[in-house]
């Protein structure tokens, strides 16, 4: 589990650059009409830092770190739920328009 720390960093860096390249190509393939939903989705998924917040909030008992963690969980949850839902709302407007427009929103 405990690898040499510089090795861990290089692995992280490798992952980072590869992910940037994937991001570059994937984002250019997004149609301009959906740039607003794109921001909604990226907003929601960037809140994956909730993972870090959960780790901090994980231990039993109460200390500074745990309180910070719990605040982080609340903030990230606002974003996750808010981001995905608002994207859902936007995308459901981009449905093919048929005669019957029966939409929730």
């Amino acid at each position: 589990m405990e690898a040499h720390s510089s090795e861990v960093f290089v692995i992280g860096l490798t992952v980072f650059f590869l992910a940037c390249i994937i991001g570059y190509y994937v984002v250019w393939s997004v149609t301009p009409a959906l740039h607003s939903p794109l921001m909604g989705v990226t907003n929601a998924i960037s809140s994956v830092i909730i993972v870090g917040a959960i780790l901090a909030a994980g231990p039993q008992g109460f200390d500074t770190s745990k309180i910070f963690g719990l605040i982080g969980v609340v903030l990230a949850s606002v974003n996750i739920f808010g981001g995905f839902l608002v994207t859902y709302r936007m995308l459901s407007m981009f449905k093919k328009k048929t005669k019957k427009t029966k939409e929730k929103e």
């Binding site: 405990e2 720390s5 861990v8 960093f9 992280g12 992952v15 980072f16 992910a19 940037c20 994937i22 991001g23 570059y24 994937v26 997004v30 149609t31 301009p32 959906l34 740039h35 607003s36 794109l38 921001m39 909604g40 989705v41 990226t42 907003n43 998924i45 960037s46 994956v48 830092i49 909730i50 993972v51 870090g52 917040a53 959960i54 901090a56 909030a57 994980g58 770190s65 745990k66 910070f68 719990l70 982080g72 969980v73 609340v74 903030l75 990230a76 949850s77 606002v78 974003n79 996750i80 739920f81 808010g82 981001g83 839902l85 709302r89 936007m90 995308l91 407007m93 981009f94 093919k96």
Partner: protein, 460 residues
Amino acid sequence: MVAILYLISALLFIFALRGLSHPESSRMGNIFGVIGMIIAVFTTLMFKSVLSYYEIGAAILIGGAIGSFIALRIEMTALPQLVAAFHSLVGLAAVFVAAAAFYDPVAFSIGKVGSIKTASLVEMSIGTFIGAITFSGSVLAFGKLQGTISGKPIVFKFQHLINALIFILIIFLIVLFVINQSPTIFWTIVIVSILLGFLVVIPIGGADMPVVVSMLNSYSGWAACGIGFTLSNNLLIITGALVGASGAILSYIMSKGMNRSIINVVLGGFGGEQDTSASKDNSDKIVKQGNAEDAAYIMKNADSVIIVPGYGMAVAQAQHALREMGDILKKEGIEVRYAIHPVAGRMPGHMNVLLAEANVPYEEVLELDEINHDFPMTEVSFVIGANDVTNPAAKTDESSPIFGMPILDVEKSQSVLFVKRSMATGYSGVDNELFYRDNTTMLFGDAKKMCEDIVKSLSA
């Protein structure tokens, strides 16, 4: 096992973005994103060190309830503000996670209090720095978009010099922090970064907001990346990089839509109160004014109409009335299409969402390069709430601040109808010579009211 589950989650996030390449696949993409997030959260909850399920569950419920409430109630015209507000939360969450890691390094296995690994300290402070800037910059952007703070750029002397000095100060603080691991210095970094975030966004004006919002989107990704490096968590690194790349590309597209470099936008001050000496005196020129009946008459006798919406349409909430107008015209056998400039509105794709909200089929909504060559074959251009993006000065007048910006060639259509509240200039402060052309008719009034009146005249 954990690594595999995180990998699946990261792949699902990539598919989520990939789905947005087409409206039909986009909803599935969003679902992939949700599944990816659920996997990520539950995987983390399975960690041995994570025991306080009740507290975490409660925190998720509270946050989730707030987020859902806001997301379901928000008006689509207010999307840019909402996105800015959400960005600020990501930034703040990043700061809190970094702080938590600093106070309890054991929980993240990055060392002990007072002797945290150097690499982790660097990554942690960079994550904090970017997170704090994202937070305050987004709060200010929110204020400007919401109208609580004036959208006018605020410029003062030595602005960029001060920002540069603060940036150097932060680097210095980070070095100090890595050496002595002092909580005081940690919080000083947070506060100074927050200050810098405000200062960076303050000189940027209202219509440059699409770039700012995309940039902050990018920052929120890099902040997540910084935290990912601190925790040696690939999922965070991948997701952060995806979001960072996405925001950076959007910023690039937006600045290109204004023919300006990102640097130029970031330095700000554009469209402020500076004297636009280039504006020639147009007071003696004649403006042809019309009313709703004239507009209805002109459009009814056309074969094709292109509608050019801008921020003014969003402000007036005119999209529904506009679509109704379009529907009547289509019933008359007239070809109706919509032309969207890349920087129309206050965030990327803003106009598309508003038109979609009003049930305009997305096939009728076209981007600048898809529709621009059709203007010469079009009889009527109906410009509603847009101005600078149609100004031919961008092509002809080298002294104009908007020179070189790609514009929608509405002037090439046989006649142009301009719905505007007044003769006021657009955001750039440049007069639009189109207003004075023979084939232009100005329709003064509120965009929504005007559309409703045209609908009445058309159905009469």
